[in-house]
């Protein structure tokens, strides 16, 4: 027997997307349309799943020629941007929808977890929902009975187990829903981003549980946006882009590939932007945030050391050594948080290479968790070379700014201030 647990070969999934509806400018048009509408609606509804004409403009391949293999006991991460086809792939693998082309072979019992709490009913008690949800996920009654106490304990809802779940707090509801799922024990587990829910502490608990599952030697296909989680849990990774496999390899290679690709996408779009001012002798062509090891990152922990890269390209004849690179950080509500440029710090760049990056090191990033907008500009002798607003965004998540693990939320201010407290007797 071969060691392959999942083999996906040339998998494709085609959808028909809606075509723009016509507008009616006159009452007569609208009336004529109303009369004709049922026939047209019927045609459209029938057409949703018919593909007589090959690949017209309203046909969309959510997956195309996807092939990869997963061995028994391997944990595979599936990453990609929104709309890359990750969820469609999981839906095909968990038999919720049929592929249009290709096939997938799965050797072993498959359990799919595309959502926590599937089938939970508000009017049923916690106990009843555990049994119902368990059986929906494919567990048998005896098994649920054996694991029942563990499930309830994991969720921490012992006192409310006989209360209808509609009276649960959203946190309790979520914990119970995840707890049932956590005890699913198929040979092949297919998991969507169910971890992107709940508070930070509970997320950590869930990740721990996932790690346990992975270490038990089961085959896991894991889809997530959380690069840290993917990197921790998985051994191998597949990068999807526009429905196609872009990269297959070890997990860290895959993550690096994905981050590089997304950084390139940002660079590309910034280069093409027209809404900028300045002479253009030096232009900002990309903005990215990296950790201190030089890895591009999507999200930053509050209090982490980061480098902000302003990639530039200079015209051949540009020799002025007095360039000032400037970075303005604003909240989502346009409130300026801080301005930083190299005249403030007294750093001089001197003669610029034809391309490169101005790098601004910010130690202990003093921002509470939220999303921020970055404006960039380059100035020489009081004149703009280039200025782009909203050149990039940075997302800050909970981090250890104070060394206590606690930071105030952004509703209480848009910066974090290092401080120390003491008592002085009167």
């Amino acid at each position: 027997m071969s060691n392959v647990a999942v083999r996906v070969e040339g998998l494709g999934k085609r959808y028909r997307i809606g075509t723009a509806s016509r507008r009616h400018d006159t009452l007569r048009d609208a009336l004529v349309h109303a009369v004709k509408a049922p026939l047209r609606n019927l045609r459209e509804l029938r057409g949703l799943t018919r593909f007589d004409d090959q690949d017209g403009e309203d046909v969309f391949w959510a997956l195309r020629d996807v092939s990869f293999e997963v061995n028994h006991g391997e944990v595979l991460g599936i990453i990609g941007r929104n709309g890359a086809g990750k969820s469609t792939l999981l839906k095909v693998l968990s038999r919720i929808t049929e592929p249009t082309a290709g096939y997938a072979e799965l050797y072993g019992r498959v359990g799919a977890l595309l959502e926590v709490g599937t089938g939970f009913h508000a009017d049923l008690t916690g106990r009843q929902n555990v049994y119902l949800n368990g059986s929906i996920l494919g567990m048998d009654r005896a098994y649920i009975g054996r694991k029942f106490d563990e499930i309830v304990e994991f969720a921490g809802v012992e006192r409310h187990i006989d209360t209808p779940v509609k009276r649960y707090s959203s946190g309790m509801y979520l914990r119970l829903a995840f707890a049932v799922a956590a005890f699913l024990e198929p040979e092949i587990l297919v998991v969507d981003e169910v971890l992107a829910v709940g508070d930070a502490q509970f997320q950590k608990k869930c990740l721990g549980k996932m790690g346990e599952v992975a270490r038990e030697g089961r085959t896991v296909l894991f889809v997530s946006h959380n690069m840290a989680a993917v990197e921790n849990l998985c051994q191998r990774g597949v990068v999807l882009s526009r429905g196609r496999v872009q990269f297959v390899g070890t997990q860290s290679e895959a993550v690096r590939h994905y981050l590089r690709a997304s950084a390139e996408a940002v660079t590309h779009s910034l280069r093409d932007r027209r809404d900028r001012t300045g002479t253009g002798a030096v232009r900002i062509v990309g903005v990215e945030v990296r950790d201190t090891r030089g890895n591009p990152i999507d999200v930053v922990s509050a209090g982490a050391d980061v480098d902000v890269y302003l990639h530039f390209e200079a015209e051949a004849g540009f020799t002025n050594p007095g360039v000032i690179a400037s970075l303005q950080v604003r909240t989502q509500y346009d409130v300026p948080v801080f301005l930083q440029h190299n005249r403030l710090t007294g750093d001089r760049f001197g003669q610029l290479p034809s391309s490169g990056a101005f790098v601004c090191r910010i130690p202990r990033l003093p921002l509470p968790p939220s999303s921020y907008r970055l404006d960039c500009s380059l100035i020489v002798d009081g004149e703009f070379l280039d200025a782009v607003s909203d050149a990039g965004t940075v997302t800050v998540i909970d981090g250890d700014f104070y060394g206590t693990g606690e930071v105030p939320p952004d509703t209480h201010g848009c910066c974090l201030v290092p401080a120390a407290w003491r008592i002085e007797p009167a």
Partner: protein
């Protein structure tokens, strides 16, 4: 296990349904649990619905319209039809809406989809049993004995109703998922169907020459058979029940077939 575009005919996969019997059981059980959740009367509604309708029918059709009832008291006469009809109509409407109201299950987990329209058909049996007991009590109150022969007819009639409800349910549920028009058609269909069945009137009121067409309605044979067996208002017509059973089976097979063909794209057209 291989996942590939299905090309071949797929009928009723009994073995797969059997493998998922645990889930089937829990969904039926959930249906029963939540049917009367947060009501004061709870299962009392299973009793009240047919009984109240019986009162209304007795006054309007029995008194005012003076519709004949083949010799039985009109109240018992109508109740004996309302008990099976209430089961059938509830099961049918439930099955028709079942897919649309369970979209979250369909888009998130795999299991044989047939379980969904079958669930209300089975869950309704509990109410049916309760209502049946009430019917027997009412008969007892009117001093009517329950004929032993009815024990033979009842299971057959029940089978006809289950096949018809499940078959029509499959058709409507699958159509409803794609064409939500069905949502508006179903209540109307149920109402028309009720008047096309011998509920407020006896089958003997239907002119002889239309009887054979009339018998094509499987619920006609089922309800008339049910009433004839219990109240002995007329002789049990096994030939009519046989036709009903045949039509019911036909509806069931075609419904399951259509459903299985349509289910491949359920998750895509929701």
């Amino acid at each position: 296990m291989v996942i590939a575009p299905a090309g071949r005919w797929s009928g009723l996969d009994v073995r797969e349904l059997w493998n998922y019997r645990g889930l089937f059981f829990f969904l039926v059980w959930r249906d029963i649990q939540i049917r009367y959740a947060q009501t004061v009367l709870g299962a009392g509604w299973a009793v009240l619905q047919p009984v109240l309708t019986m009162l209304v029918f007795t006054i309007i059709f029995g008194r005012f319209a003076n519709i004949p009832s083949d010799g039985a008291p009109y109240a018992v006469f109508s109740l004996a039809a309302l008990v099976p009809w209430t089961y059938f109509s509830t099961a049918l409407s439930g099955a028709s809406n079942s897919l649309v109201s369970n979209t979250n299950l369909i888009t998130k987990v795999y299991f044989p989809r047939l379980v969904i329209p079958f669930t209300p058909v089975l869950a309704g049996l509990v109410d049916f049993a309760i209502a049946l007991v009430i019917l027997l009590l009412v008969m007892f109150g009117f001093g009517l004995a329950v004929p032993a022969a009815s024990a033979l007819v009842l299971p057959v009639v029940l089978l006809v109703m289950m096949l018809t409800a499940a078959g029509m349910g499959c058709w409507l549920a699958a159509l409803n998922l794609r064409y939500r028009d069905v949502k508006y058609v179903t209540p109307f269909l149920v109402q028309v169907w009720m008047y096309a069945s011998p509920i407020v009137y006896p089958m003997s009121l239907v002119p002889e020459r239309y009887r054979s067409i009339y018998a094509l309605n499987p619920m006609a044979g089922a309800i008339e058979g049910f009433r004839a067996a219990l109240l002995r208002t007329s002789a049990v017509s096994w030939s009519t029940i046989g036709i009903s059973l045949g039509i019911g089976a036909l509806l069931f097979v075609s419904g399951v077939y259509y459903f299985r063909r349509a289910e491949r794209v359920f998750a895509d057209v929701i």
